[in-house]
Symmetry: C2
Subunit: 396 residues, 2 copies
Amino acid sequence: MVRLGVVGLGSRGKGWIAGVLVNMENVTITALCDVYMDRVDDCANIVTNKHPDTEILKTTDYRELIDADCVDAVLCTAAWEAHVPVSIYSMRAGKPVGCEVGGAYSVEDCWDLVRTYEETGTKFMFLENCCYGRRELMILNMVERGFFGKVVHCDGGYHHDLREEISFGKENRHYRLRNYLSRNCENYPTHELGPIAKILNINHGNRMVSLTSTASLSAGLSEYIKNKKPDDEELKNANFAQGDMITTVIKCAHGETITLQLDTTLPRYYTRDFTVHGTRALYEERTDSIFEDGKHNHDDWSWTKNFGNAKEYAKEYEHPIWKDYLENGLIGGHGGMDGLVMHAFIDSLENDKPCPIDVYDAAAWMSVTALSSISVSLGGAPVEVPDFTRGQWLLR
Amino acid sequence: MVRLGVVGLGSRGKGWIAGVLVNMENVTITALCDVYMDRVDDCANIVTNKHPDTEILKTTDYRELIDADCVDAVLCTAAWEAHVPVSIYSMRAGKPVGCEVGGAYSVEDCWDLVRTYEETGTKFMFLENCCYGRRELMILNMVERGFFGKVVHCDGGYHHDLREEISFGKENRHYRLRNYLSRNCENYPTHELGPIAKILNINHGNRMVSLTSTASLSAGLSEYIKNKKPDDEELKNANFAQGDMITTVIKCAHGETITLQLDTTLPRYYTRDFTVHGTRALYEERTDSIFEDGKHNHDDWSWTKNFGNAKEYAKEYEHPIWKDYLENGLIGGHGGMDGLVMHAFIDSLENDKPCPIDVYDAAAWMSVTALSSISVSLGGAPVEVPDFTRGQWLLR
C-alpha cells in the first residue's frame, strides 16, 4: 500500500482523486495540500466518503506534506509553476514523485530536475497520460513491429479550445490565465510530444537536436472576452502576450522531423493531431486512419470510405498494455489513460522498477516550452535542444 | 481570337492542349515548342485533329516560338528551370505570358521577373489553378464576408505521393528527378500558398515577412526504388538530396502565420491540406469541414458527424465565379480549376484587364522555394521574404 500525498487540488488534482486514486487498491491518500484550504477540505471529504477510516494531513504548505511521515510518495498536480519546485523538494526529501505535465519555464529548471534525480536517486515519473492512449500505444506497437518502415516525420498538436477555461475570471482564476497574459511560447507540448518521443526513441538512441518556434498574433482571447465578458474590467482591455497559434518544428539526430502546434484560443474541435509518417505507412489521429503502402491507393482514397479505418488494425496490433486493460476493465479518466499512467507509477514504486517516463524524458519534453519561448523571441531562430542524458542516449 | 504559342509539351503541356485549349473558342494554338520533337508532333496532331485547318509552327527553340509573328501570347508549361527564362524572354519580346507554377531557383530570379515586367509592361500571369479551386474560392468569399472573423493562421501542404512519377526512369526522365537528386527545399509551394496568400491579402495590405524551413531525412525514394526498380543501375544507389518532408513556417506583416508542408516521397493520400483558422471559424480541406463558433460545440464534434459539412455552406457562400461556372458547364482538368485560370488569363489579354495573379504574386510565392533552400541549409534559420512590390503593398 503506497501512502500518497497530493499537492495541488484544482480540477486536475480533484479529478485524479475522485476518478482514479480512491479506486486504486494499492494506494491510500494520507495528505492533501493546496494554497486554498477549501479545496483541501473538499478533496479530504471525497477521500473519507469513500474510505471513512482514512486520516488525512491537510496543509497549505507543500513542504509540510512532503516531509510528513505519513507520506511515502508525492503526486504533484499543482499549477505549472510549482511542478519543478515540488518535484525537486520531494526528491531531496527522498520521497518518490509523480509529476503532472506542463512545460518548463527555463532550461535550467530541466537541468535542476536531472541533477536532483542524479544526486538523490529518488524516483521521478512524468505522468504523461497520452503516452498511454489507446491509439498512441497501438501505433507505437506497429512502429516497433516495422509496420511503418522508417518513421521520417511526426506531427502533433494541442488543438483544444480553452478560451472559456482561460478567461473564466477572477473568481476562479486559472493558472493558464497568468501564463497567457505574459508568455508567448509552446506552453503545453507534452501530450503530443510524449507519444512521438517514444516512437522516435528519444533518449534511447535518438535525441531532439534543435527546434524553431513561430508565434502568430494574439486575437482569439481578446475577441472572446469582448463578446462573452464585456463587463469584466480587468480582462476586457487585457493584452495577451500568447499568440493564438505556435508552430514548433523539431529536428532529431537521425534526421526525423516533428511539428507541434499549440492552438488553444481559437474556436475548433479537439484533436492532438497525432500523425506518424513512415516509408511504408501513414497514421492520422485526426481522421483515425491508416494509409498502408501497397494496400491503399492514393487515387482511390476518400474520407467517406477510409477515415476511421484504424480500428480494423486493432485486432492485430492492439498494444499488450491495452489488451490487458480492456480485459480487466477500464478505470480512470481520459478514456483510461489516467488509470494506466498512475498504475505504471505505483507499479514502479511497489516493485522497484524504473519509471517508464523518467526524468530525462521529462527534461527533454518540458524543455521544448522554454526553448520555444527563446526561439519565438528571436523571430523563429533555431535553438539547440540540450542533451540532458549527457551522452547516455547513445548507450541507453 | 488569341493566337497562343505553347512552350513545354510534357504531360502538363499536353494536358492543357488536349483538355482545355482546343476547346476554348477564343484561343487558337499557332506554335508549339519542346526540346523533344516527338512531343511537338504529338501535340500538333492533337490540335489539328480537332481543328484541321490550323497551321502550327513547330520548333525546339522557345526563342523562335516567342519571336514568331503568328504568336500573340505565350503559355509556358515547361520544366521548372525554364519558367523564368521563357517568361522573361517573352515579356522582352512584348508577348504576354502565362506561366505554369513552380518555385524559383533564386531570389534574384524573382526580382528579374519583376524588373522585366516593370521595364516592359508586358502582361504576365502566374497560372496557379488552385486559386480557382471551388473550396478555395468559397472560403475566400467567406473570409471576405467576415465569416471567419480575423484570420490568424493558415496551413497548406503539397501532400502528393510522387514516388512513381519521380523515379519513372531514364526512358522518360521527369524534371522532378534531377531536382530531387540535388536540391533540398520546399520545391512546390504555390498550390497551397496561392489561395492562402489571396485570403491573407498578400501584396495588398499585407506581406510575408520571414520564414523558416526544416527538412527531414530522405528515405522514401530510396526505399521505393530498392523495392520497385532493384535493377535500375543509375537510381538504385542514388543519394537524394531532397528530404521527404519539408516544413516551412511563414510570418506575415500583421502577425498571421502560415505553415506549408512538402510531402511527396512517402506513401499517402492526396491533400493540399488547405486550412483557414480565424477567431470565429475553422475550415479544413482534409476533412472538408467547417467549425463555426457558437454553432458547433468542440465537445460534440466527430468526424462521423461533421466531416464533409462544408458543402452545406455552398448554397450561401459559393463564390460567384463558381456559380457562373456551374451554370455554364465545367471545362478543363483538375475539377474545373484549369479552365477557370486559363479563362482569366485569356480574358485579361482580350479585354486588357490586369492579370488576377500578377508578377508580384508570382515573385513572392515562387521566392518561398529559394528562401526555403537557404533556411534549410542554415539549419532552419529565419530568412527575410523580400518585398517585391517595393512598398506598394501598403497602397495596392
